[in-house]
Symmetry: C2
């Protein structure tokens, strides 16, 4: 099978366009710079101009005689390229303001933002200029926007990891043309994303946050990112604010097409959606177990045990990574719960990372049915999802995804161990980066950060964040020789 | 779908017959008892009589008006029942001789023998009477015999875990009737098993072992068991003996139908067999890497680095569990290699446990092909094994097996942690029991034993040994309500 030449020009055209937008987003932090500290104001302006300027140049040069056809391979290159390029330019404000002097650290912090991971190399967050902190939260929010389009419109079209199956159908959208579908879907879902962000901001302000903190935390919540403006993360705020954050983390971990259906008054479809139902089951069951164990073993009060359990469970499953209680100090084996939760992930079509609830459902259903099939070898017993039989090739695709995920986790842990990290830190950092969560275990646990890792480790984790965020296949396929063959 | 009543009588009939045989095997250790220590002689005689007597009674009572039809469900019950019943009676010599006073410990040691695991609760092996040590090695050997029939004849017929695909075809055997197939296959393969055991015994004696040690170690090697007669395991013997053991562990981890084909002069089929090829690749690659790392990091000599690496790699992959070097003392991250190797397992149709090489091949091939399928979404790209396309439902079956394996490992680790064990010990004991390996990590590492575990932990690990040995499904299906429904 021969493939046509890759249309690199359309790739540059789109990446240039994205950089122009990124530059504009950069300068939106200027008002906060002006109010709190003037120096970072110029940094944001200059970074924004460099970014938009570079973007414009590339866009302008690629524009002539452009063939606008975007094939499969161009789509893969655009997606991976976009996250890399905006992370490279996104590091400018950190470097130029001197907030993060090293390039490795600045890039790590930026890609951690855009992949909505929330792993930080900052040892003291609160001394940073407000304008820079705003940009830090903004990287999450932009990343979240990208993920919504990616997971609802682009990946299902490319057939990655069975995603086409998990996304509730958007009414009035037909998958015959890539471009109109993306534009239409994106507009609708972004509107919901913006609205939810605004509502959360207002509620957080009602709880006593100022506009700056409220916006930054709303950005980080809706993107399931996890960057806070406080060293203590959400533990620095009142229980009311924590509960508000919990609700919006749950919403951010839900498929955005479900939000759309709900707004259109089709509330019943919410409960009919199997992934959503299991998502709530998992959240509830783990919260109840953990709350009881915390109550009995750690001796915290009833309300606090419940809140600590709920917050941490929701934060880890949705892969947000905010923290109100250091699970590393929980008694004995309780942290194993957190370890298990790190594998779950949010719903498909949400901003959450990880393996995703829908994939878990398919895999476990098939395993359970295998026992039934052994009893009735003559019968045909298909796996059903949302009431429909799932084709076997989709199951094999999901299985391949799961195996790559586990394999990457194991190899990643090994590589991090080679760098001299202890086993818990190696496990925690790999799993956290791959699942786009943020906090890990050991020396990268909730109250620590990633500053002390060796440079190679930071680059490797950056790669894992990208890999996890783009559902593995999007990046892995670029590493196969077959992709580049003429 | 309604199922006929379970024919319990045929189950009792066969279990009774197996107990009669077990009693006879018990008394075969008497010559060694007589030579070395007379007391254990009577113990073996009495235990043997009790076992055979009980077996005869059950067999005799179940015999009248017997319906000899063995269906699917009867087969499941016979297999699981056999391993439990022979382990219960097999504990008699330990208890009656006072070698292992507690029932929990005695049962653990026995089922560890019959499942060819080799995990021991004995703190000093060498003080035991020779007759008892002979029975201990014999439990391995009997277990290995059972496994050969199970994996080559019974499980493929029941369609468990895709085994029907992995076993090289035995010429002249048709799967239309269970009984003739089992008898014929068993006779041929047992002959090979006995011959290999005798050859190894002779070679070990050439290396300086006495007949008793040579027989016991040959029993434990061919069954991929791992019980030694020495506290230091194979480290107590010469390099020559260690190399002989390596060769026979590799043979024991190979499908016995391949041995049969080889004896019939069809040596070419050996190399054509994909599982065998990958099995040798994995052994070689891991040995070379580990040998180099040991040479560079631990500073042991060239020959010893190679021998230590080869021995440990072969011992873990084949799930034998003999030890010549404590991998827990290897520098830094090297033990992670051992951890990974514990998941591999031997070849299908061998006496080895674990996930099995063939299943690994199918899973990884499918994952790799998924990337190719994404590039060519219109093409049909099947997984091939030994040159033939593998049906999708077999792949789903293998996937289900893999997931149950991982899930049991994770849940098992959690349960062992709940008992107060540290993480390494919890991980190591679970993985080692499930894969029928023997040594684990932490306080159940190569130079330690399982004596200090709480009683519940020993029973739970016994269950895991059984589960792993019978390829999960055989046991799990008994736990589903559908199995018992009329």
């Amino acid at each position: 099978m021969t493939l046509p030449k890759i249309n690199f020009r359309i790739i540059l055209y789109i990446l240039g366009f994205l950089l122009m937008l990124e530059g504009i987003f950069m300068v939106t932090g200027m008002p906060f710079s002006i109010i709190y500290c003037k120096r970072s104001c110029y940094v944001l302006l200059i970074s924004g101009c460099i970014t938009s300027g570079s973007g414009f140049l590339v866009w302008y040069l690629a524009r002539k005689n452009l063939n606008k056809l975007i094939g499969r391979r161009e789509a893969y290159l655009i997606v991976t390229g976009a996250w890399i390029v905006i992370s490279l330019f996104g590091a400018l404000p950190y470097i130029m303001s001197g907030s993060i002097p090293g390039f490795t650290d600045a890039f790590f912090e930026t890609i951690s933002g855009f992949t909505t991971t929330g792993a930080s190399i900052l040892q003291d967050i609160e001394i940073l200029p407000k304008g820079i902190l705003f940009w830090r939260a903004m990287t999450h929010w932009i990343g979240g926007m990208g993920i919504i389009v990616l997971s609802v419109a682009i990946l299902p079209l490319l057939g990655i990891g069975g995603m086409q199956l998990f996304i509730a159908e958007m009414p009035g959208i037909t998958p015959d043309k890539l471009h109109p579908r993306i534009t239409q879907t994106a507009k609708r879902l972004w509107l919901i994303y913006v609205m939810l962000t605004l509502v959360q901001t207002l509620l957080l302000m009602t709880g006593g946050m100022d506009l700056f903190d409220a916006l930054c935390h709303a950005f980080a919540t809706m993107a399931t990112g996890g960057f806070s403006t406080k060293n203590a993360s959400l533990a620095a705020f009142s229980p009311f604010i924590q509960y508000v954050t919990i609700v919006f983390m749950i919403l951010a971990g839900t498929s955005f097409t479900l939000h759309y259906l709900m707004i259109r008054g089709r509330i019943r479809e919410l409960w009919r959606n199997e992934e959503y139902r299991y998502y709530l089951y998992i959240l509830s069951i783990f919260t109840v177990i953990l709350a009881l164990l915390l109550l009995l073993k750690a001796g915290t009060g009833l309300e606090q045990s419940f809140r600590d359990a709920l917050f941490q469970v929701v934060s880890i499953i949705t892969t947000t990574g905010f923290i109100t209680s250091d699970y590393e100090t929980w008694p004995g084996y309780l942290w194993i719960f957190i370890f298990l939760l790190m594998f779950v992930g949010g719903c498909a079509g949400s901003t959450g990372g990880g393996i995703k609830v829908a994939r878990q459902i398919l895999l476990w259903k098939n395993s359970g049915l295998e026992l039934k099939r052994l009893m009735h070898p003559q019968g045909i017993i298909p796996v059903k999802f949302n009431g429909k039989a799932v084709p076997q090739n989709i199951l094999l695709l999901v299985m391949a995804f799961f195996l790559f995920y586990i394999f990457t986790f194991v190899i990643g842990t090994f590589i991090m161990s080679l760098l001299g990290l202890d086993f818990r830190t190696a496990t925690g950092s790999t799993l956290s980066a791959l699942g786009n969560i943020g906090p890990g275990f050991g020396s990268v646990g909730p109250v620590y950060n990633y500053a002390h890792l060796p440079s190679f480790g930071k680059w490797f984790l950056s790669f894992l964040m990208l890999l996890g965020r783009l559902e593995l296949f999007t990046v892995l396929i670029l590493l196969t020789p077959g992709f580049w063959k003429k």
